[in-house]
Symmetry: C2
Subunit: 170 residues, 2 copies
């Protein structure tokens, strides 16, 4: 399926110079959405994933149905203060200042094979933080999966040593 | 399946006096997560839903796989400024002040049959705002669906005239 034709490119969002890849036209097309999730699931299944981990909020839109399709659990990674039980956290750098991502300490088992999923791989900062959280819990990152990869931002270089899977490239 | 046994109740989160219903133990159990989504999908299917709409962020964790299971599109409702294309919005009251939810103007067709989904029905404020957005676009709310309903908060009364479906009640 031609997923790229269903992604809307919006110039200067959220700020001047950024060309935003809007996946909502694909999401609202039931057949396309299902085909995208199914294609990711099919390519991930041979790796034997036992859980999908996704960062809020767009990571939930890919990670949650992917977990459902694979028949495994979904583990949310959230901004600081959103998860109610005991967490581990990582700080990550923003353009100005820092932010923090968290995961529940009991979310994954040691050695559990995990897929980290997000809508888009840009510079790789968010997914790198997500991977650090997974590894802090002693789980194993079997692959990272994205709907879109912005190859010119070279996020893949930040994920050296990890299996990287994307459906649409710019 | 006994979904309630997989929901963790956390006292005094996010503030004193609130008893938070943590669904992450259920989400991370692949069989339970799938069974919960499948049960919602099975009960919704006779209503002929053509799209699922969910508010960020926990609404994505239920709404997105529910859309996948039903084979229909998923439409995100987001906080102000997150959606990149033209939106319609509603204001809703918080304990102190106001916040705004948005939906893309082209997200739904007139007359389209929609399920609005969230993890939890409490006082009904968020889902009522989500319904208003759907109806501003001329679409039809066929049902609202939740993993959990806090019956003592009487959110159902705010949804009078709408079909309300929940898997677990407190």
């Amino acid at each position: 399926m031609d997923f790229k034709s269903m992604i809307r490119v919006i110039p200067d969002f959220p700020q001047p110079g950024v060309s935003f890849k809007d996946i909502t036209p694909l999401l609202k097309d039931g057949a396309a959405y299902r085909a995208a999730i199914d294609e990711l699931a099919e390519r991930l299944r041979p790796l034997g994933p036992e859980a999908v981990v996704g960062p809020e909020a767009r990571g939930f839109v890919i990670g949650a149905p992917l977990a459902y399709a694979l028949g495994v659990g979904f583990v949310p990674v959230r901004k600081a203060g959103k998860l109610p039980a005991e967490t581990v956290s990582v700080e990550y750098e923003l353009e100005y200042g820092y932010d923090r991502l968290e995961i529940h300490r009991d979310a994954l088992r040691k050695g559990q094979r995990v897929v980290v999923a997000d809508d888009l791989l840009a510079t790789g900062g968010t997914i790198r933080s997500t991977i650090r959280l997974v590894e802090q819990l002693g789980a194993h990152v079997a692959a990272s999966a994205f709907l879109i990869e912005l190859t010119y931002l070279e996020g893949r270089a930040k994920l050296a040593g990890y299996h990287v899977l994307s459906l649409v490239q710019y």
